[in-house]
Assembly symmetry: D2
Homo-oligomer: 141 residues x 4
């Protein structure tokens, strides 16, 4: 299961991530997955390449399944897998594992559109990004 | 579109709900939808009935689509629709509208399992809840 | 006590504002006070005047006292009082009351420096702001 | 400066900790200091000793000074110093350093009352806690 993921990001659960049910709140997992997604984008130098651009990713849809409760203290290892390179979007699958185990506490999918922030509309993925993402997928085969 | 929803909950966006892109952060919408879901459950007196019970709802899956950016200051009206009463789960559809408009800024679905918190496993929906939810759906027809 | 405050801002407590002790988390009060502070600044048209400026307020210190626990559902009314107009700073006192009561659940003070964001250093309060704040204080006498 | 602190806790800044000004939000520092405080309390086995007790710490006041802006990505090292063991309270001083530097980005103080949660009123610090805290201070001399 862990083998399915190409990129990993570690999240240390904070006491304040828990809600009134004394477990990590559902909305907080989306913050964790956001952290992993941004770290993945950074791993392909997205921010570096994108520094002078007015284009970038914008989250359009995301889903999560909550499998096990998590209580502070805990460390989660989030695996990220690129599942689709669209003309104007990037799809990811992610899973949060309890540190050092094969226990998935939550998994998620996300679709990021590529957006021209000035025009506030979708745009074609730039060539450099398509290339680096394709190479990323190939490395994993 | 607004007619599809049976229950409404208002969320006042806080300045602190915005992220570094100066719009409301994706994870925050899940907090908004959580607020609406809990208000809906309260509208059928779930907490009242459930006061001495060790059973209750637990979110197992949720999805959101982000349609428009929201910036502070803003007020959102979240419509809630009961979409399925399962043997051991309750499914909802929700949509967040800009106040006083038909503009949906984000929509979501959620499935809550009915859980025995002590045993940490799913349980049948109690009769009183099934009855009140069924009546809820009937009222809308 | 309520008479001491010139400006009011209402905060609706969200279920998600509670922590694992099932009361509103201490850090969340600072978000509430931030909301009140920004609403106060907006009440003197700070953002409007400041639209093309590279200067603005930056929080340099804040203190809060937690007097009573707050549980969802709750509505808080936050009173804001301007306590000092410095050469390069604005000091506020704030108190969060349970809606419709004289019960203070938490109070706070804050100092905002006036900052040149480009130079990342403090700057003199602009004349228009000093004038509008002074008028604000006078109105209250 | 670092020598003044007896206990250390590391916080990894999340992208989502930033606000619309694209720096770490003020309220989030209180979450970071809360993390450090809880880790400190755990270091003297507070939760372990306290497992069957209805008493424990409750934050009554806290102050923070914001010295430097922090942007994602960043790691903060928070030093904790016990400043006072009262009859019914524990006072701490904390400072958040940029990882591996002597740069303090924010510092804070806090007072936790010792509280009988059932009666919702303050109580004397238990002997075991006074003893372990006193030993803690002595170790540092």
């Amino acid at each position: 299961m862990r083998e399915e993921f190409q990129f990993w990001h570690t999240v240390i659960v904070r006491w304040g991530d828990m809600d009134a049910q004394a477990h990590v709140n559902n909305a907080r997992y989306f913050t964790f997955f956001e952290s992993a997604r941004i770290a993945f984008f950074d791993s392909v130098d997205l921010r570096l390449h994108n520094h002078d651009s007015n284009e970038g990713p914008a989250l359009v849809t995301t889903t999560a399944n909550f499998r096990k409760q998590v209580h502070y203290p805990a460390t989660l290892e989030i695996g990220v897998r690129l599942t689709r390179i669209g003309n104007r979007s990037i799809s990811l699958a992610m899973a949060a594992f309890s540190e050092g185990t094969n226990d998935i506490v939550a998994d998620a999918t996300s679709v990021n559109a590529w957006v021209d922030y000035d025009k506030n509309q979708s745009a074609d993925l730039p060539d450099w990004l398509r290339e680096v993402l394709t190479r990323h997928i190939r490395l994993q085969d």
